[in-house]
Amino acid sequence: MAQSLNGLIENLKPDPWRKANPFSADIEQCNRILFDPALSRAEKALALNSWLQDKQPCLFGRYAAKQNWITYCVLNEVDLDKGDEHVRDMIRRRREQWKRDALSGKTHGFIIAIISEQIAYAQPSNDLLELCRRLSHLYLSRSEINTPLLDEVALRVNGDQNRPEARAWKVGVNWFGAQADKRWWHDHRIPGGVGLSMNSVGHMARRLAEDLISKDTDFAHVTSSLERRQLVSWAIPVAMRTILTASKGAIPGTRLMERGGTPPPEGVTEEDRQRALGQALCPYSEDEYFGWYDTDATILPEYFDPSDKCPRINELRLPFTYLHRQSDRDYMSMGLGTTVEESLGMTGFGSVESLE
């Protein structure tokens, strides 16, 4: 029989490396709120949300936090003492609320966080890996390692010819931990303990594009020649900029890949490409980037190695998306990103200076 979350927490040991390397100031500040026993889960979720607006590297994630588009399931020691079936049930309820709200575009992301001082200060270890797996299992009924674990979220949209339809997107599940702070996987740090974060770029990109179409007649006209499914490509340069921003942070886990001599797809001119990506991103590939870890995989054993040094010797080549871009319309859609960001107030959202 699988060990319970509480049973696994009992085996955790304090992290001697953390003693010598205290948490970053922003983590400490948020921890003070999260570890306050007198606060409700909603108040702690607000504190996490506030931290995410400034400190997490993904620009989409920051924007979602600012717009209050993230549903939180904050678990504390009271929940853990009530047993794993209680934890599973509360995750289920918040997951369902997330999905129902996401269907109407009210929310995009979902974060499950266990707030615990003992966990936050615990050394990465096999016991922490098993805790991660147990939490994944209580959420997804599965917990395979070294592979992307996926959930699903849906949105009601206007299809081609403005026909109402519903679409579903696969959502990557990502592990975050306080242990990551100042370690090689620093991009995956979170205050207060550990957690799983789910955010669909496709879901958010489609919703934002459709919002703008309904409000801005110029944008509606510009996009009228596109198939509806192409409306999401504007997010790719934003994803590139997320990597570019994060790579300038203190401990980057990813970086953009130079384009080199790769020509654009047939039918797409260099001018099309430059219009789509903008000057800053043109030197880089819109298809792949480098990472010291597989950013798609959910439970990586490397996260649970207590060393502060990256165990990998060579960087991985990672794709942005499995969306194939072959036509000039695809690149036209990519070029809409600036318009979307400006209209929605996303430009300049999150500077590298605010990252640790």
């Binding site: 409700s40 049930d89 309820r93 369902e96 679409r167 959502v171 669909s200 770029v201 798609d296 794709p319």
Partner: protein, 414 residues
């Protein structure tokens, strides 16, 4: 094969018609309901499956069709609640959720598991990169995956999200007492069993004493899986529950293992407490991080002003508490039931009565115990043998001084 045209219910929702289902499924119809059968139906046409699972089947419908529909609805609940898969007997696997349990043949395991995850929207990524485009889904699938599940209440979830917990703590005096000479198993009980019971009580009672400020005190009762010995190792505590006693200001002053006939309930709860609480706020116990056991000290007793009681342990053998009367609780060795210590309650009343009666110092433990014996004898509730077993060792060994009592004597005697 004829395309399906489902009949519509009067209010516009879709509901499978049994006749049409038979027509649609053709020779595959009339097989017994099973998970494998549902996988086949889903693979044939997911919409049929989703309709059966969300809206059921209308009459006229043969029994096999109703069974299939009922099973589809069970599966919907299983995937939404979350499930565990374990080996079962006779070459089968068991799929268990909070509400339901189903079996399948081991040879069908991978197909059934993949089916359940598909229904749950959970998967392993088989392509690198993020999903930007998505896929179109039907209304039936939306209803299956995102429609309301019965049994949930918004009020419960709202309370869970927004309620601030009651924060319980120890008085500094009691914290010092715990870390200065009490048996280690008592300290471990505070560190590990007490928070567990406060966070997840089986029952909560109000009214710890019949008079005084503890008439508004609270007892949190629970059944942790283990107790602890003096080395901090887990030990079974069969037929016992753990009780945490809190005064009306949220200060924990006492905690014990006691006999239990109903799991999580003290056997004598109806006599001991005034009222069982049906509703109570979430609580959490804090301030335990710097508490550690120290060398055991049988020559000391400790007074808790919060609990208006004195604790004494003549031995550090792990023990449970047994209430003798409203002034005396003894600690009995869990192995052999010998008396290894005691708790004297309502000390303030005793001090008031004794102050004018005795020339000897009331701060000596044997004086207080003897005083209680006298009071209980007058009431007819003394257990002479019990008092004797406590008093005997106390005479002739120089006495046991009670920490904290002298300092607070002026507060007690009014």
């Amino acid at each position: 094969m004829a395309s399906l045209k489902s009949s519509r219910r009067a209010h516009g929702g879709l509901r499978m018609n049994g006749v049409e289902l038979v027509e649609k499924l053709g020779p595959l119809a009339a097989k017994p309901a099973s998970l494998k059968r549902l996988v086949e139906i889903y693979n044939e046409d997911p919409k049929i499956f989703f309709e059966l699972a969300t809206h059921g089947i209308s009459e006229p419908a043969p029994q096999w069709a109703k069974s299939i529909s009922e099973l589809a609805q069970v599966v919907r609940t299983i995937v939404r609640e979350g499930f565990d898969i374990t080996p079962s007997k006779h070459g089968k696997i068991k799929i268990k959720s909070r509400t339901y349990s189903q079996t399948a043949n081991k040879q069908d395991e991978s197909a059934v598991i993949e089916f359940l995850h598909t229904l749950n929207g959970t998967a392993i990524g088989d392509r690198k990169g993020k999903d930007y485009e998505g896929r179109q889904i039907s209304e039936a699938e939306i209803e299956f995956k995102f429609g309301e599940l019965s049994g949930d209440t918004d009020e419960e979830l709202y309370q869970w999200l927004n309620s601030a917990p009651v924060v319980l703590k120890l008085d500094d005096e009691d914290r010092n007492a715990v870390s200065n000479g009490m048996p280690a198993y008592v300290v471990y009980g505070l560190l590990y069993s007490a928070p567990n019971v406060v966070h997840s009580p089986t029952a909560v009672f109000k009214g710890l004493r019949h008079e005084g400020k503890l008439s508004n005190g609270i007892a949190y009762c629970g059944a942790p899986e283990f107790g602890y010995d003096n080395n901090g190792k887990k030990r079974a505590m069969a037929n016992m529950c753990f009780v945490v006693y809190v005064d009306s200001e949220g200060y924990v002053f006492d905690w014990d293992w006691v006999k239990s006939s109903t799991p999580g309930y003290p056997s004598d709860w109806k006599e001991r407490f005034s009222q069982k609480l049906d509703q109570y706020p979430e609580a959490t116990l804090t301030g335990l991080s710097n508490i550690k056991p120290s060398r055991f000290s049988p020559e000391s007793a400790w007074f808790s002003q919060r609990g208006d009681c004195v604790f004494w342990y003549k031995s550090d053998s792990p023990a449970h508490a047994v209430r003798i009367n409203d002034e005396l609780t003894v600690f009995k060795d869990v192995e052999n039931s010998s008396i290894v210590g005691c708790k004297l309650k309502n000390v303030s009343l005793m001090m008031r009565d004794l102050a004018n009666e005795l020339e000897e110092s009331p701060y000596d433990l044997k004086v207080l115990i003897a005083g209680s014996l006298f009071r209980q004898t007058v009431r007819g509730t003394a257990s002479w043998q019990t008092y004797k077993s406590l008093l005997g060792p106390l005479f002739g060994n120089g006495g046991v001084s009670i920490q904290n009592l002298e300092r607070t004597e002026s507060d007690l005697v009014s």
